[in-house]
Symmetry: C2
DNA sequence: TAAATTACGCACTTTGAAGTAAGTACTACC
DNA sequence: GGTAGTACTTACTTCAAAGTGCGTAATTTA
């Protein structure tokens, strides 16, 4: 792995794209299959409609997801992953593999109370 | 790349390790060479002593960083990267490369003034 | 002797992403 | 007619990470 100069580093850019609380999960879900807004709501228990809409709009602006409105009586909007989104998902998977390998060693900080063991972010590997 | 089950994904673990605002930069700097506390302060303009000390302690607890106190008249503490830290840095570089490649396309959101884009990462509780 | 450097610790404040709750507008079903 | 589902938007609140500023204690330099 080559060292990049500090100001040539694109990590901030990558985090800017994936840094939202639900973005990796959104990316994961729509990478599995195109999903509608309501389907994503149900697939990501705990996400609010506000944040879901917000992060989808940002990801669309970043070219990670495609938003398609289908004509018809009832509203139908479908979100799918773009090639760029898929490539980001792949990059995320490298970090994911690292995390998986180090899992036992790490000090898992937050986890207050008896909240679900540790809701992990899903993605491709 | 193979699909991992949701609860087998280690991305949260990775973010837990590198998610602090300054951690990637700290890792980067000490990966170049072992650094003393004061040197890091100067190398990361804008970091507060509180946060620097805090994140170094967390990274030490996570095994990313080694802290060595040198005996002598003046206090001297040196921070260096561990093998684990270096491996994380490599993983980070993959995302960094992605970011570098996509940089022009991305919508760099806020970025007030001349500050660099540095989004925070938040995990699910 | 006063000031600066070393590596922090502690208490308080700020900030902004995310959460909460409500509203919109259209359709569909009973 | 009333309730439910579609895909959102908007105003307000919460809370923890990060920022601010001051304290410490030994030593070294001017």
């Amino acid at each position: 792995m080559k060292h990049l100069a500090k100001d040539e580093c694109g990590f901030a850019t990558a985090l800017n794209a994936i840094g939202g609380k639900w973005k990796t999960e959104i990316l994961w879900e729509i990478a599995l299959a195109p999903r509608r807004f309501g389907a994503l709501r149900r697939l990501l228990p705990g996400v609010s409609e506000k944040v879901l809409a917000q992060q989808l709009r940002e990801m669309e602006a970043d070219g990670l997801v495609r938003r398609q409105v289908f004509p018809g009586a009832v509203q139908k909007v479908e979100y799918s992953v773009t090639d760029i989104g898929r490539s980001l998902n792949d990059a995320v998977c490298v970090m994911s593999a690292w995390g998986k390998a180090q899992e036992r060693r790490m000090v898992l900080r937050p986890v207050v109370g008896q909240e679900k063991p540790r809701p992990l972010i899903r993605l491709r590997a």
